[in-house]
Amino acid sequence: MNDFASLRVLDRFKSVFNKLNIDYDVMRKILQLKLTMDSRRMPAIFSGSNIKKEGNQFLKSLWMYGLFGILFLVPFLFLGNEFLFSLTIMFSSLFIILMTSMVSDFSAVLLDIRDKNILHPKPISGKTLNAAKITHIIIYMVLLTGSFVITPLIVSVFKFGIIFTLLFLIEIILISSLAIVLTAFVYLFILRFFSGEMLKDVINYVQIFLAIGMAISYQLVGRVFQIVNIDITYTFAWWHMLLPPFWFAAPFELILNKDFSIHIIILSLLAVLAPILAIAIYIHLMPTFERNLSKLQSDTNRTKKRRRILQGIWARILCRTKEERTFYKFASLMLKEERELKLKIFPLLGFAIIFPFIFLFNTLSTGSFEEVKTGNSFMVIYFSLIMIPAVVQMLEYSGNYKGQWIFYAAPIKNKSIVYSATLKASIMNYFIPILTMLSVIFLWIFSFRIFLDLVVVLLAAIVLTLISYGIFNKGKFPFVSSHEHTQTNSFFKVFGGMFAVGIMAAVHAMILNNPFGLPVYAVLLIISIFIGWKLMFSKR
């Protein structure tokens, strides 16, 4: 086990802990163990990438938070001296990022039920155990928040002087504690009224959201600085009382701008009192929380059968044999219910929705809306197809990959139909819904004239699915590999996928001006789908 730098810092406070009747040596050992375990966990911020699970990924992810600090906090410091406006935006951004990373990466710390089984039977006092848990959270929080706010803090010294920075520092401590407690409250609420499975789903979706946000943020960098020059004056409304970012912006107004109006004072008081109150309630509810944690492994709220009628109908239409229909239903369930798979695939789907619009906005910024409307920039929809090769490749993985013995033990007549069914399921569950959504928006922008083009795009997506399968998937069955052994040859794959999409788009662009081109092309695509599918999945 490593000797962590954070623990060496903690050693300086040894006498404080001992004075509080906490067995420091035992606590240090627990923390050392926990930090070692943490270093083997993958933070969600990296989940889209193929980094191998070695070294402390959390520490390595800290530079990302540093970058976030520069991107999402620093610009707002330049919004002028109307603090209640500029700082409210900044604290909102701070709050959102803290909460999301807390839910995605911290849940493992907050929701660790192994403590109960492993540590509680050992002769360690309850006080020491709690101290270890709280210190563990604090170490995390200091590292995360620290790397997040370090640059804004330095910038603020030069921009507004030392008093501002000190106030900022104190408030960050308050905000972080509020964020921890609120996260715990959300968990408590879900565990109290729903089931552990539901909570895991919520955490899963927050992780997905974070991964998508991460990618979009790169695209937004330029635009964030564009709004910096906007000049807005702040007017108070009563509902601002309900929003924490306003509370934390108010003290700056109070102390630095010497604004002593009543609403500023109330907001400032809230900034101090709310976190303290929240912590008090949290400590009070801690036993309830621990008790409810045992519900984490439950799925009590589902006792009724979920109707999946639509799935059955599609299975009947799309699959010829009963065997294939069975696997179609199975694959659809996996695509909807497998959390690890969703964590990998959903961000890709998110990009697929967003990328076309990013490129569309770029064209908008050079030409007028009318020009865009009548032009051919709807072709940017092809950017969403880039995700298909990556998604098809992901179908091989599952968190429950060890369940795969069933594929070998069962009497499957034609083994290749398992993949055929899975591809059909991913087209129906992922690709078509997304393309339909994009198409509706595009039809609204570009009018009905591009309908046939969109049909062609959809057909191209299906062809691409088939091509990607042919290129990438060497395995016999889907859902049989562990995510941990993901190979890192993504460059070739992404490039190959883009190349294939590029060819599809180029062909489409070439026939755009030929009146008969499109229908003929569509028919050709349909025929090649049928023939290709037959060839690819004929009995091997």
């Binding site: 069975t326 033990a409 009497p411």
Partner: protein, 264 residues
């Protein structure tokens, strides 16, 4: 014996790299037998089962299931087999209902049949209330019961149970034992491997002992006892595997616990 031959292994050998796991196994199994397949850890028990199921291939020798060489036949013979793997691994993100109707359907049941049968069997095991909950929320014993149900849904003629009782409570063990006996009465063949000698001794009507990839004993419990003049199956097991130093090991172990050096 006039019963039909269900399984036949002739000088089956298998090696993983340089490690020889099975070393010329010969075995004939007839309809209605409950075979207790025992042996020390790493003797090749699970490998034998996996070979017969076609989960692993590339072996030498001859394996026949239902009178057909599994190498040239299609996978169709698997339809009549039920399998409980050693490790309780299933697609846990699904509910028991979803998982069981999936497995039932790949073994040829209609989805309605699979659902009804699965629900009935779950109810008998006291799991009716969690039928629509995700398997990941189940305890180890509950997962094991789901696996057992999954292996029986399609009414197979041949059962491969690899440590089927792990994680089950004493009452469930009694139920399973009874079920196995009843199934054998109906002419089903059960190939059963376990480390719990008392259970094997009670339910098997034939015991096969595998040591270092070879069959070293084969017969009813009474036959084995006569040959080896030992009381319980546990003693026979110890004798045939050449394991006699359990007392010395225990002594050394306890000494180490006391803080001694391990040597007496």
């Amino acid at each position: 014996m006039n019963a039909k031959k269900v399984l036949s292994l002739k000088s089956v050998s298998k090696n993983f790299g340089s490690k020889q796991v099975l070393n010329g196994v010969n075995l004939d199994v007839y309809e209605g037998q409950i075979i207790g397949y025992i042996g020390p850890n790493g003797a090749g028990k699970s490998t034998t089962v996996k070979l017969m199921l076609g989960l692993i291939d590339d072996y030498s020798g001859h394996i026949e299931v239902f009178g057909e060489n599994i190498i040239n036949g299609d996978d169709f013979y698997k339809k009549r087999i039920g399998y409980v793997p050693e490790t309780a691994e299933l697609y846990e993100n699904l509910t028991a209902f979803e998982y069981l109707s999936f497995t039932g359907e790949i073994y040829g049941l209609s989805s309605k049949e699979a659902e009804e049968r699965a629900f009935g069997l779950m109810k008998e095991f006291g799991l009716g209330g969690v039928f629509h909950q995700r398997i990941s929320s189940y305890s180890k014993g509950m997962k094991q019961k789901v696996l057992i149900i999954a292996s029986l849904l399609h009414d197979p003629d041949l059962l491969f149970f690899d440590e089927p009782l792990s994680g089950l409570d004493a009452n469930s063990v009694i139920v399973i034992k009874e079920i196995l006996a009843k199934l054998a009465e109906q002419g089903k063949t059960i190939f059963y491997s376990s480390h719990i000698m008392e259970v094997v001794e009670k339910i098997s009507n034939r015991i096969v002992l595998l040591v270092d990839g070879q069959v070293v004993a084969d017969g009813t419990f009474e036959e084995l006892r006569r040959q080896n003049q030992e009381g319980s199956l546990e003693d026979i097991f110890n004798q045939l595997t050449g394991f006699t130093e359990h007392e010395e090991i225990a002594n050394r172990f306890v000494n180490l616990v006391h803080g001694g050096s391990g040597n007496e």
